[in-house]
Amino acid sequence: MAGQLSIAKALNEALRKSLENDPKTLLMGEDIGKLGGVFRITDGLQKDFGEDRVIDTPLAESGIVGTAIGLALRGYRPVVEIQFDGFVYPAFDQIVSQLAKMHARALGHVKMPVTVRIPFAGGIGAVEHHSESHEAYFAHTAGLRVVTPSNAHDAHWMLRQAIASDDPVIFLEPKRRYWDKGEVGDSADLGLHSARVVRPGADATLIAYGPMVKVCQEAAAAAEEDGRRLEVVDLRSISPIDFATVEESVKRTGRAIVVHEAPVFMGLGSELAARITERCFYHLEAPVLRVGGYHAPYPPSRVEESYLPDLDRVLDAVDRALAF
């Protein structure tokens, strides 16, 4: 992987490599063929691997995931693209009742190596259903693995690891970061489910994933000007969560703020806050604070800036945490 790649391109290369390395790998989804997907993540792949391996499907998400399950039973390794976050719900039953549970139902006799790629979250000025963060639904569902990269390197390697996994993986792509560029290394330096401290600090820990990692990094940089050293943890994996890394950090800093776009109520932040408090009770100087979306449908794009956590809201939470 020479030089700087956008996240989009890093994903495209990951799909290409996976198709090259394993003839059983298939891509399925709406408009992923000639169009290359609405975000061009599958650009050029149908041309190179054929319609048999890069499959434009009928417009039916339950059908896509359901037939992917059948293909997996036949020994294939399907990688499904859901066009936008808001369109995965018609497939919810197939994901939650079938994909997630098949391995257990079969007492381990069958495996479900299906990756479901979903461009998720907001910030792109889109119409309804195109900006949702629904990771909490999937994280609560046993049998699924849920991950999301925040940079090109992770995008590439985590997608390859997800496809190679024998378990179903919900792979959430932070769509507003698709065009962010970064160096993609020659190998995966971490396991699929490890968190990464992306900025060291001592005063408080910012915990984020996917699109919010960048916001937290910016917030940490801004805080530094005020003499506050914020550590930033990129979770990378939402289910399972690498609590060892999180715990180690929070025990050092004594304060944690979780940041995500999804509504705070019942969001990932609640699990992190609950478990961090359990594990670090005597180390916490302040309650774990949460910055996230409101308990409301994702709003029209002209007000999404007010809905989405940004640098100011993160720093406001830092202020509150430090004031305890």
Partner: protein
């Protein structure tokens, strides 16, 4: 000029019924497998602007009505073009153009009675026009100031639905309510060729059929679902889907406003008279991109698009009006002026559309009070106020 129709549907590459079928099946399948066995495409006005009769769908129109339909087509197209250019100017975030589908929408829209109800997708700007919905209302969601936000009951025109196919169930439920009310209204559920694959649409067919609900399923088969041709959704013509659910399906020339009017009027009357649902497939073409975000050069040949230009819904009605002397130059000139006016009004209306206050986020989550929303609103307001005093970080 009126001649007998001999039009046939463009043959799709549906797999022929294979030889291995036992005779009893070949027979049973015959109407599905041999598209030429009967007239598929109902047409009352040829692409050349020649009025033809269809024995089953007689239509009498006054010159005034014809001019009025023409006016609708022209103004709807104008509105659509204006919206497309407003998107290019950055005034809208996105636009889903109806270019090429004006006749399907105006024909079906004008077939409705006041009490009838339409459930659109995100592309039925022409139907909205016929329902007398202010075009500016449609632009709110594309500008990003709301997700629709008009009162659907004011004009019996439901909110745009983006999740493909979901609205067909709402339409069916609404129609079930009409039956319960013993009213003689009917409902149209719009959807696309791509949408036909969604489970919700088939479930809507089942509910409508079982409850004999007064709903017309109006499928605009514009040949494409973003980049996927209709052959990705079905191997036989879509109107035949209905027969599998026990109700009639017809294919109408979707670029022929008169045929769309006559067929939809019949379908609505069929439905409102207690005969249950009908599927109308309006065979048309999406002349533009899927939306302003799309790039159709990646997946379809320009020749295909060109070949549909000669079937343009507006020019054929214009040709007819002109040949038959049903409209004079003054009419066309006035319409041109009205069209400019409309463009201007839309342009100015959009530009003056205020951004909503961010507290809109909290306004309509629930109809009744909700403690969490109230708390979050209060937090938000306090937080926002902390900036107003100039105390930024």
């Amino acid at each position: 000029m009126t001649v007998k129709s001999t039009t046939r549907a463009r043959k799709k590459a549906a797999p022929a019924v294979p030889d291995t079928l036992p005779p009893v099946l070949s027979e049973a399948q015959s109407s599905e497998s041999q598209p030429d066995a009967q007239p598929e495409l109902i047409q009352l006005l040829t692409p050349e602007g020649i009025r033809v009769e269809h024995p089953d769908f007689p239509l009498t129109t006054t010159p005034e009505e014809l001019r009025s339909l023409y006016r609708d087509l022209v103004l709807v197209r104008r509105f659509d073009a204006e919206a497309t250019s407003l998107q290019r100017q950055g005034e809208l975030g996105l636009w889903a153009s109806l270019l090429g589908q004006e006749a399907a929408q105006v024909g079906s829209g004008r077939a409705m009675r006041t009490g009838d109800y339409a459930f659109p997708t995100y592309r039925e700007h022409g139907v909205a026009w016929c329902r007398d919905v202010d075009p500016l209302n449609l632009l709110g969601m594309f500008r990003g100031v709301n997700h629709g936000g008009w009162d659907p009951n004011e004009k019996n025109f439901h909110l745009y639905t983006i999740v493909i196919g979901a609205q067909t169930l709402h339409a069916t439920g609404y129609a079930m309510g009409i039956t319960k009310d013993s009213a003689d209204d009917a409902v149209i559920a719009y959807f696309g060729d791509g949408a036909s694959s969604q489970g919700d649409v088939s479930e809507a067919f089942t509910f409508a059929s079982v409850y004999n609900a007064p709903v017309v399923f109006f499928c605009q088969n514009n040949q494409w679902a973003i980049s996927e041709p209709t052959t990705n959704q079905t191997r036989i013509p879509l109107y035949r889907r209905a027969s599998g659910f026990g109700f009639p399906g017809v294919r109408v020339d979707g670029n022929d406003v008169l045929a769309c009017l006559a067929v939809t009027r019949w379908a609505l009357d069929h439905a409102r008279s207690g005969n249950g649902p009908v599927l109308v497939e309006a065979f048309t073409y999406r002349m533009g991109a899927h939306t302003t975000s799309d790039d159709p050069t990646r997946y379809r040949a320009t020749e295909e698009t060109e070949s549909w230009k000669v079937k343009d819904p507006i020019s054929r009605l214009k040709a007819y009006l002109e040949h038959e002397g049903l409209a004079d130059e003054a009419f066309f000139a006035e319409l041109e002026a009205e069209s400019e006016q409309l463009g201007l009004r839309v342009r100015e209306g959009v530009r003056n559309m205020p951004d909503p206050d961010p507290t809109l986020i909290f306004d309509h989550v629930y109809a009744e009070p909700h403690t969490l929303v109230d708390e979050e609103r209060a937090e938000y307001e306090a937080y926002a106020a902390s900036f107003e005093g100039g105390e930024n970080h």
